[in-house]
Amino acid sequence: MKKHLIKLIALFLLINTTYTSNAQEVVQGLKQVFDITPDNIGNAMVEVSMKLNAQQWDMFKRNTGNNTNIFKRNMEKALPKYYLTDFNYSEDQMDRSYKIKFKVLGLCYLNKDGLWESKLEVKNPDVTKLSDKEFVLTQDVLMNGTLFQQTQKVHLPDGAKDARIDKDSFGKAVLHYSTSTGSFFSVISIIGMLLTLGGGFLLFKSSRTPSK
């Protein structure tokens, strides 16, 4: 997930898409924030927000104009493994900032242990766990001579618990968490267990009581 989302930076920022023979010059300071919010059936809303300086905004508008469909096309090309829907683009020209929202279908799925799972496809991610439901991943990415300071926030759904990041057999990071949706033991199941135990106890008690 992380690896692929990193790729988005090149798509939203069409500033440095041309070849340069002198790629050593680094343009500093492009900040990008991703908010990733999985719902309780494994789909995730992704919101990308970015604020640009005057020169960057000028270049950005020159490249994209009003053709916001370009974001959808490029994102679909850059994230070929996923199904993306519900695109939405908004911008604040006065603030030189924009936001793109879209839904990723099936980003998380239930594994054989009944836990939600999502492959991060990156080794040793730099992760900060804010709460049981929130993670922040930060990193700097250099692409085409441009340095991106990237923050990714993962907001797990209500009811999510025991969230953790494990490693799969290839050493890649995998996000795991459980929810009541995915849990085998629902409230009804717990009531059922109580009833069964209660019934068993009464049965045991009645069998120990001598008949008159």
Binding site: H4, K7, T17, T18, Y19, T20, S21, N22, A23, Q24, I41, G42, N43, I70, R73, K77, A78, L79, P80, K81, Y82, Y83, L105, G106, Y109, L110, N111, K112, G114, E121, T181, G182, S186, I188, S189, I191, G192, M193, L194, L195, T196, L197, G198, G199, G200, F201, L202, L203, S206, S207, T209
Partner: protein, 557 residues
């Protein structure tokens, strides 16, 4: 008994509450809806890409499928399997223990296609079958047809027509070109070794990382193609429409096929250069511009290029020296960066190592003793003494190996047939394809420029050039004197007529102490002197080679 009724009822209700979901699933089935996306074709040359879910971000799958549970019941143990007719038996793509009501899952299928697929040279129509099964599911089966191309077929884009935004996207599959770069091919490695040994006389491009050494290596490849009489042959891609996808499909020969076939398109020559450079540890790149491609490399942050098609061919206006080819390449490169910097995305660089790193790896190719033999024959032309003259070159270019000064050798063309090689230059004639060039030695007469002989040394043909001589008779007399003075042999000959192309034919014998030769010679005067050939066979072979001798003499032009 009545006392036990309540506890038993509680237990039953409790168990029902615990297991209501599985029980419900046993009696009520789930329903899945599928949405499938598939590529227009399977290209065998990228079979390693299909098998690697991480290659190029997983873009090249056999199919991508969205599975959505549209029922109100959880689908249990959902398994997706697939097969490709005549290609791949049933395989399991993935299994999901549970898909909740309303939940979607994505299946990306990355098949391990059999290696033998790279032996496929023609296209065929096949069927991909997909089967979705589950504990509480009615089995779903879906099929779609797919064209499995030949191993040389390359489709430049899989994008649907309506999604093409700019000309560059007609070449969306360009990173896959590195699948046709084959540095690990044993035949290519062997060819590279021959270049390093015989053309470059050693090289250190990847060790010293010096730009000038990289350029020397690249020019060495050019010279190798020039010396081996490789020619440029143009062709165009075939526009192909598959469903809603319109793309150019081109048949691209593998580098080993270009080497042994001695002919290549611009893209094929570029891939050959890239393969040799990658094999030598360099960082090759291929530059793509509208209607053309040329090779190069990058080193220390600098890019270099060469016009590989400058080898041209006599039939298409001549050949250029390596220096001129390099200059043309670097001029092209200037224009390339100018255009690319204006955002013209038809100007693309394929960074071969970068593409390979992303998973676009080349196919496995097996060693082949016949092809090694062909390389040996080609490498003969790299030997000292086999110095092509540029008298038919358009630009009167210098010797490609030493970077200067034409000489009085003879040029050799690149045409060959299955049984005869065609020699072009001082004179034009054909000789058996199995013959090898015999390196010059001290026994050679100075005017004896080339000698080609059979493997058993029973028959050979010599090419002569007598600058300043006035007649064929003078040339024959010079040969007679040379043999007598240098080996004590006696030469007897007689004129046997003239040909339409102006050659005077001689029949003769050369006698040594214990052996002798029967031969025929043909000489004609030119503006600068006399040129011609002599074809001789060991006397002990009798009339065994009579036809061969006649065929060679008759092939003179």
């Amino acid at each position: 008994m009545q006392k036990k009724l309540l506890p038993i009822a509680l237990i039953v209700v409790g168990l029902l509450a615990i297991f209501y979901k599985p029980l419900l699933n046993m009696v009520s089935s789930a329903k899945l809806e599928l949405k499938i996306q598939q590529p227009p074709v399977i290209m065998p040359s990228i079979y390693k890409v299909y098998a690697n879910e991480n290659a190029l971000d997983g873009k090249y799958s056999l199919f991508k499928m969205l599975v959505t549970n549209t029922s109100s019941n959880t689908a249990k143990n959902v398994q997706v399997s697939y097969q490709i007719s005549n290609t791949l038996d049933w395989k399991v793509a993935t299994t999901f223990p549970a898909i909740l009501p309303g939940q979607s899952v994505v299946v990306n299928c990355y098949p391990s296609l059999p290696e033998k697929l790279v032996e496929k040279t023609t296209s065929s129509k096949e069927q991909v079958s997909i089967k979705v099964t589950g504990t509480n599911l009615k089995t779903i089966e879906e099929n779609f047809p797919i064209e499995v191309k030949g191993r040389n077929d390359f489709m430049y884009s899989f994008l649907p027509s309506e999604e093409i935004r700019n000309p560059g996207e007609y070449f969306d599959n360009m990173p896959l070109l590195s699948c046709l770069v084959t540095p690990q091919d044993p035949i290519l490695k062997y060819f590279t070794q021959k270049i390093q040994e015989k053309v470059l006389k050693g090289e250190t491009a990847s060790v010293t990382n010096k730009d000038e050494e990289g350029v020397r290596f690249m020019m060495g490849i050019y010279n190798a193609t020039l010396l081996s009489h490789m020619v440029y042959s143009g062709t165009s891609g075939i526009p192909q429409k598959i469903d809603d996808i319109s793309s150019i499909t081109q048949s691209i020969r593998l580098p080993r096929e270009v080497i042994t076939g001695k002919t290549g398109l611009c893209i094929e020559l570029s891939l050959l250069y890239a393969s040799v450079m990658a094999c030598a540890g360099m960082e090759p790149v291929v530059y793509l511009i509208p209607g053309h491609a040329y090779p190069g490399f990058k080193m220390n942050g600098h890019y270099y290029a060469i016009e590989s098609t400058a080898i041209g061919g006599e039939g298409i206006g001549g050949r250029s020296s390596a220096e001129k080819a390099l200059k043309a390449g670097m001029d092209n490169l200037k224009e390339f960066f100018q255009k690319a910097s204006t955002g013209d995305d038809r100007y693309m660089i394929v960074d071969i190592r970068e593409s390979i790193k992303k998973g676009a790896e080349a196919m496995e190719l097996k060693d082949d003793s016949y092809l090694r033999q062909k390389i040996d024959e080609i490498a003969q032309s790299f030997d000292d003494g086999y110095v092509p003259k540029r008298d038919t070159y358009a630009d009167n270019n210098p010797d490609p190996r030493n970077g200067g000064g034409g000489n009085g050798g003879g040029n050799t063309g690149g045409k060959s047939t299955s049984s005869y090689n065609h020699f072009e230059g001082i004179v034009d004639f054909s000789y058996p394809g199995s013959w090898n060039m015999i390196p010059r030695n001290s026994a050679f007469m100075p005017q004896q420029k080339y000698v080609f002989g059979s493997r058993n040394n029973e028959i050979f043909v010599s090419v002569y050039q007598f600058n300043g001589y006035g007649s064929p008779d003078q040339a024959m007399y010079a040969i007679q004197q040379f043999v007598y003075n240098n080996s004590g042999g006696g030469v007897q000959y007689q004129q046997a007529g003239t040909t339409n192309s102006g050659y005077t034919i001689y029949n003769g014998q050369t006698l040594y102490q214990s052996s002798g030769l029967n031969w025929m010679a043909a000489f004609k005067p030119t503006g600068n002197g006399v040129v011609g050939i002599a074809v001789g066979a060991n006397m002990a072979t009798g009339s065994k080679y009579q036809n061969t001798v006649m065929n060679i003499i008759n092939s003179l032009k």
